[in-house]
């Protein structure tokens, strides 16, 4: 893309463009059409599907032209922060709900409550409550959920039945019994695959505990709580009892085929794997696998409230047009179409009334789980903390740390990461309104 084709996003951006282009391209920087040009950033695969949804929007709003820019997932975080630093943020963006606290802390996002109150399309009570809650930071609403994501169990129905279990586990104790019955390390068979470099699995177990993961309003780690230690012990025991192989997802290679071969009876993962299993396993095996809500410490468990939201940036000059786009993408009919294109699960209960979503047996567990999800702590540092948590947990899996030592180490690292957060909480309160 040539710099001259880009519409000015802010005066600062225009200045930079003017300097860079030596002023020659200034004329080219002005929007070509008299209407509004909206810049919309998408992250990962969503960009490809969204292009198919936009023509209908542009037909309904002839004065708005949407320019989609696709960011690869690996570069998105950096690109968003750089754009903020350089004053070149887009009008609208997709934003993972773990990144939302970070951009809210930067004061980069437009509060949306007033627009939601006035909207006839977006009805907060129609959204899964915990998913909606991830968009509220310190009482202010910054985003509208676009699609949801949670982790739960994929399992081999036939293997469980052969081992004498006619239903997936509902509690950890039951789960442990099934894992034990389905594992046979001498034949390289394991109850479950838990890649040691992915934090989502341990985090899901940890969120099921009643104790929060951070204490004192996000000032300190709370990983030495009895609840987290219980989750960590369950996680580590799964490896110690040889019910999961201590390998990373790089070594695991192709988990779908190996799940199909019966090397793993359970797989703890997210909704995109429904599509993967459908396309990668042969038709004869499609009735052998199913999904189930996550088992809890005692009875039905809680999952992590993940997914992406749509946000408007504070510096946008076209906030009304941006809101119209968000409203359009939030319509149940559009969300159903989005599901058909990509398999992303909608955040509205009414969108789940569509036949494709309602009647799919593999999706039923997700529908059930989504009523029981919990958000991660809303601090900007959360992703880094989760990374460190997993690095320490992997050491515990390798036998280098006991549960108590690992919990203390995670707390120590978390407290160090949160040092600045504490300082800001203590000092900035008087300054900000």
């Amino acid at each position: 893309m040539k710099p001259g084709e880009r519409a000015p996003r802010s005066w600062r951006g225009l200045w930079l463009a003017a300097i860079a282009a030596g002023g020659v391209l200034l004329g080219g920087c002005a929007p070509a059409s008299p209407g509004t040009q909206l810049t919309f950033w998408t992250i990962g695969r969503e960009g490809e599907a969204i292009i198919k949804l936009l023509p209908a929007f542009e037909r309904a709003h002839p004065d708005i032209h949407v320019k989609v820019q696709q960011l690869p997932l690996t570069a998105a975080h950096q690109k968003l922060l750089t754009a903020f630093a350089g004053g070149s943020t887009p009008d609208v963006s997709q934003l993972g709900n773990t990144w939302l606290p970070e951009l809210a802390a930067l004061d980069a996002l437009e509060p949306l409550q007033a627009r939601v109150d006035a909207s006839t399309v977006i009805q907060p009570h129609d959204y899964f409550a915990s998913i909606w809650a991830t968009n509220v930071i310190d009482g202010t609403l910054y985003g509208v959920p676009w699609y949801v994501d949670t982790r739960l169990l994929f399992y081999r129905k036939d293997l469980l039945e052969a081992a004498g279990f006619d239903a997936p586990p509902r509690s950890w104790a039951e789960w442990r019994r099934q894992l034990a019955a389905l594992s046979d390390p001498s034949r390289h068979r394991y109850g479950i695959l838990l890649p040691t470099n992915e934090y989502e699995q341990l985090m899901s177990l940890a969120l099921q505990q009643s104790e929060p993961l951070l204490r004192d309003g996000g000032r300190y780690g709370n990983f030495e709580s009895a609840g987290f230690k219980r989750a960590l012990a369950f996680y580590v025991d799964t490896f110690k009892l040889q019910q999961a192989p201590p390998i990373t997802n790089v070594e695991a290679g192709n988990p779908w085929t190996e799940f199909g071969r019966g090397l793993y009876a359970f797989y703890l993962s997210g909704p995109w794997n429904i599509g993967e299993f459908r396309s990668r396993l042969p038709a004869s095996q499609q009735d052998d696998w199913a999904t189930a809500p996550l088992p809890g410490p005692a009875g039905a468990g809680i999952g992590v409230a993940g997914g992406s939201s749509l946000v408007i940036f504070r510096t946008s000059k076209h906030k009304d047009a941006a809101w119209q786009l968000i409203e359009y993408l939030s319509q149940p009919a559009v969300q159903q179409r989005f599901y058909e294109l990509l398999g992303d699960l909608p955040p509205r209960r009414s969108s789940w009334q569509g036949t494709a979503l309602r009647d799919d047996p593999k999706l039923r567990a997700f529908r059930e789980q989504l009523e029981h999800v919990k958000p991660t702590p809303p601090v900007p540092e959360w992703e880094r903390i989760a990374n460190e948590m997993q690095l320490v947990a992997a050491e515990a899996v390798a036998g280098r740390l006991t549960i108590d030592q690992a919990a203390a180490e995670i707390d120590r690292r978390t407290d160090a990461i949160l040092a600045k957060h504490r300082w800001v909480l203590d000092h900035a309160r008087g300054r900000r309104p």
Binding site: H77, Q78, L81, T82, F84, A85, E102, A105, L106, D107, A108, N197, T248, V250, E251, G253, P380, R384, L391, A394, K420, H421, W423, V424, H427, A428, R431
Partner: protein, 292 residues
Amino acid sequence: MNSPCSAWLFVAPALVVLGVFFLLPVLAALVLSLTDYDLYALADIRNLRFVGLGNYWELLHRPLFWSALGHTVYFVAAGVPLSMGASLGAAMLLNSPLARCKPLLRTALFAPVVTTVVAVAVIWRYLFNTRYGMTNYMLDLVGIQPVDWLGDPHWAMPTIIAFAVWKNFGYNMIIFLAGLQAIPPELYEAARIDGASAWRQFRHITLPMLKPTMLMVGILTVSGYFQLFAEPYVMTEGGPLQSTVSVLYLMYDEGFKWWNLGSASAVAFLLFLIMFAVTALMLRLSRRGDEP
């Protein structure tokens, strides 16, 4: 106009460019490294604190910094001799009167240098794929078990070293070739008349005559290899088990992933100090070698 004045006038454009685009950013980074500039400071500059040498102190107490330094030193210690050996060997082959098609060979051996590191790293990732890669296929033909080149913490760094050596040796080869061609042929003639073997000619003529070139190539390669980043970034993303996290990779993570620009700048200056010390040591050792 007197001559010092006009001399300054002539160097002024270069000085201005150096000052604005090099000196100023370096000084700004130095100041940054003494603060805790991060996400919060980006949001509101009043959240910036002056921490003195706090960033440096913390880094020196971080196990990850030391392991990153260890990986970098491993890369330099293994990569530089290998790279220089390959360059010198290739240069000698090209310089040999027996070699044919010299321009073609020279171009072929230089080609990896001008390729884009990201593009070839992706190709190497395919070559070293555990299950489908050509390397393991070849090893399989001679009956060697497949190696998990990029997934095994013990093998990932050697794979990256091999890649870096292959990618970079052509550049030094050209410099060595120029150095070899500058050695007067009379020296070899005299040595041959005295009955010196090929090895003794290499040991007593080629190496001493190439010493200034070797020193320069050595310093350039060492400082280049200390800045290992693109190779692990594209091939392993620092993994497996953080076994290919280099100092510069740590800086990238700190600065651009977690946006702690203060501590990232401190990493950069620590790396600079280490490279400065190593280069000074190399210069001193080479000088000591001059005084018998």
